[in-house]
């Protein structure tokens, strides 16, 4: 009734190529973005910002980066934590060693370094795939863990092995309140999500999907697997690297290599499986789900009057994640994003059955 494209005639090519061809979709997304930028900072409490909103926004970006590689290009990676670490530590070095380095500049340098590392560890993908690639990316994970724990240069010779950044200042504004941190992250994420959406709509993204669906056929129609795969590794690692730098600088403040261990990689992979592989929207759904679930698990039993211990809650969290992964892989391999689009399809016809 309300949500349908009747009467919206497309008279120019530009109309046909919009990200959201349906007017109602555009309004909805605009309203969502406006709410995220204006409404949320007015409504949310400080706890909400620290525990939910900031981690959600940053991890969405990381999941988005991983989704470009796994969901769009079909190259599995268990090493995304390593790329986040590269982004964080290189950004840290750029920020502390170069006087007057702006924060965004440091983030871009961190992302660039992650891009290079991603290409290096993406090279095995030219010869192997699937399970074998999983082991190659795990190698990246363990190697980076070791480098950042052992090579003192990266931690600026700090005695404890953990590093920290002072309060950040962006364009003359000091990021000392949770609101300002949130808005800063949200701006970066919005820009990068828009860029990612346009990359996957364009010829680069289409070549990734062709390689994912059938690499031999893709090669036959003239897509170079080398370029497609390495560009997927490069773009994905860049995005993950920037997310890693944000995670370290904005969310953690001070961190050590353990913050980016193999569990972080698996966590990101779970986000995109649950959220939906091959979907920008899905990365956000998945991140929201995985950030909120542990908090709910800690709170809900207390509200219901059956308090459980924190150890029990963390075991439950493991079990629920595991069961959900299997459930989604069996029942809905395209994740929450698919449910979202099914909902939209149904809404277009509502209230008629056909």
């Amino acid at each position: 009734m309300l949500y349908r494209e009747n009467g919206q005639f497309k008279t120019r090519y530009g109309d046909d190529q919009q990200i959201f061809p349906i007017l109602q979709d555009r309004w909805l997304v605009m309203a969502l973005i406006a709410f995220a930028f204006i409404g949320v900072p007015m409504l949310a409490s400080e706890y909400m910002f620290r525990a939910i909103l900031i981690p959600f926004v940053i991890l969405s970006l990381a999941a988005l980066g991983l989704n470009l590689l796994v969901g769009y290009c079909g190259q599995i990676s268990l090493g995304s934590g390593a790329f986040m670490a590269v982004g964080a530590y290189i950004a840290y070095n750029a920020y502390t060693r170069v006087p007057g380095m702006p924060v965004v500049g440091a983030f871009l340098i961190g992302g660039g370094a992650a891009l290079l590392v991603g290409i290096v560890f993406g090279i095995p993908s030219l010869r192997i795939r699937g399970l074998y690639l999983a082991v190659a990316t795990l190698a990246a994970q363990f190697f980076c863990d070791w480098v950042f724990a052992r090579v003192a240069w990266f931690t600026n010779y700090s005695a404890s092995g953990s590093v920290s950044v002072p309060t950040l200042t962006v364009a003359g504004v000091s990021l000392d309140t949770p609101q300002s941190k949130y808005l800063f992250c949200l701006t970066i994420v919005t820009v990068m999500a828009l860029a990612a959406k346009n990359i996957v709509r364009g010829h680069v993204g289409r070549s990734w999907m062709a390689i994912r669906d059938m690499d031999v056929a893709a090669t036959v129609i003239g897509i170079r697997p080398v370029t497609a795969k390495l560009s997927a590794f490069a773009v994905s690692s860049f995005v993950i690297g920037v997310a890693g730098a944000m995670w370290a600088f904005v969310h953690l403040g001070s961190w050590e290599p353990l913050a980016f261990d193999v569990n972080r990689s698996l966590n990101l992979l779970f986000m995109i499986i649950i959220g939906g592989m091959g979907s920008i929207m899905g990365s956000f759904f998945g991140a929201a789900f995985i950030v909120v679930l542990p908090i709910l698990l800690n709170q809900v039993p207390a509200w219901l009057g059956v308090p459980i211990s924190t150890a029990m809650a963390s075991h439950l969290e493991f079990m629920i994640f595991g069961a959900l992964i299997v459930f989604f892989l069996i029942v809905e391999p395209h994740g929450l994003a698919r449910l979202w689009s099914i909902g939209k399809e149904k809404l277009r016809l509502w209230p008629f059955p056909h």
Partner: protein, 309 residues
């Protein structure tokens, strides 16, 4: 010289432990083409079951004997592992039959998380120990050959013996029993074995049961050496490079790969560690696996089933 030999032997002993886990990977991969990421979680689960049962049973039934407790716990834990393995096969992998390898890998990742949480929920999450009643005094051998001789741990020797026994049992099972031969046939060619009347579903159930049993043996040996705790599941990740080096489809490959990695790791730690910084052990195995992947993707002993891109 004595020190070098000690390092070599220590490495080989650690390698035996990796081989035990890798065996489980290879069995399942050969028979059903599933890369079972959850093997490590199964090892942890089995070790937890064994440790806790050996602790509870004597209290429950009122006897003292350590041997009897261990024996009963082992049998019970084996039964539990068979049930767990079949559960995984039934509930997770059967609905996903014929899916891509990557999907199956992610499914077993989910199983890993579930088993880690489930195991710690029902068995507890502290550090437990499995006491096999072995003396901890090191054994001195070749004392007259070198000055100082070589020190060997008795539990290392026991671990090696158990591993050898397991391999022998598996070899006999595969070569002599009708079921074992059916397993080999399925591993070789699914369709051909189906056409001569081997029920694939039953074979898969059996393979998973055998893998569960292997996990129990590995868990028992590791648990008695290192204590049963969550980090076992992480350590078991080391079995991945082992199967890459040895080859996914080869049982001897799993064993030799494990020994190679255990050995290389220790040698690198002792002789390279001081030069480029300690802690090499954490990634050496993966580095080696990466090198093998680039040069010889099927591993040292695997069949060339990998599709080149």
């Amino acid at each position: 010289m004595g020190f070098f030999l000690e390092v070599v032997l220590g490495g080989l002993m650690a390698g035996v432990l990796y081989s035990l886990v890798a065996l489980g990977f290879v069995l399942i991969f050969k028979a059903s083409g599933v890369f079972n990421f959850a093997q490590g979680a199964m090892v942890l689960f089995a070790a937890l079951a064994m440790a806790r049962l050996a602790e509870w049973l004597p209290e429950l039934l009122g006897f003292e004997s350590l041997l009897l407790a261990n024996l009963l716990a082992f049998v019970l834990a084996a039964l539990i592992m068979v049930v767990v393995a079949q559960g995984i096969e039934r509930l997770v992998l059967r609905p996903l039959v014929n899916q891509e390898g990557v999907t199956l890998l992610m499914a077993t990742l989910g199983v890993t998380y579930f088993l880690d949480g489930f195991g710690q929920t029902i068995w507890g999450s502290d550090v437990y120990k499995i006491d096999l009643g072995l003396s901890k005094d090191p054994l001195l051998v070749l004392g007259d050959l070198f000055e100082g001789g070589i020190l060997l741990n008795r539990d290392d020797i026991a671990a090696a013996l158990i591993a050898v026994a397991l391999v022998v049992v598996l070899a006999i099972f595969f070569q002599k029993s009708a079921t074992g031969r059916a397993l080999l046939a399925v591993a070789d060619d699914h369709q051909a074995s189906q056409s001569i009347g081997i029920p694939l579903n039953r074979i898969w159930v059996i393979v998973w049961a055998v893998a569960g049993f292997t996990a129990l043996v590995a868990g028992m040996v590791w648990g008695s050496k290192l204590g049963v705790q969550f980090s076992l599941a992480i350590l078991a990740l080391k079995a991945l490079p082992v199967v890459i080096v040895g080859g996914f489809t080869s049982v001897p490959g799993a064993i030799i790969g494990g020994l190679l990695i255990g050995l290389g790791e220790k040698l690198a730690e002792v002789y390279l560690g001081p030069i480029i910084g300690g802690g090499l052990e954490n990634w050496f195995a993966y580095g080696l696996a990466l090198a093998v992947l680039l040069v010889r993707p099927q591993g040292l002993f695997g069949e060339r089933i990998i599709d080149r891109v």
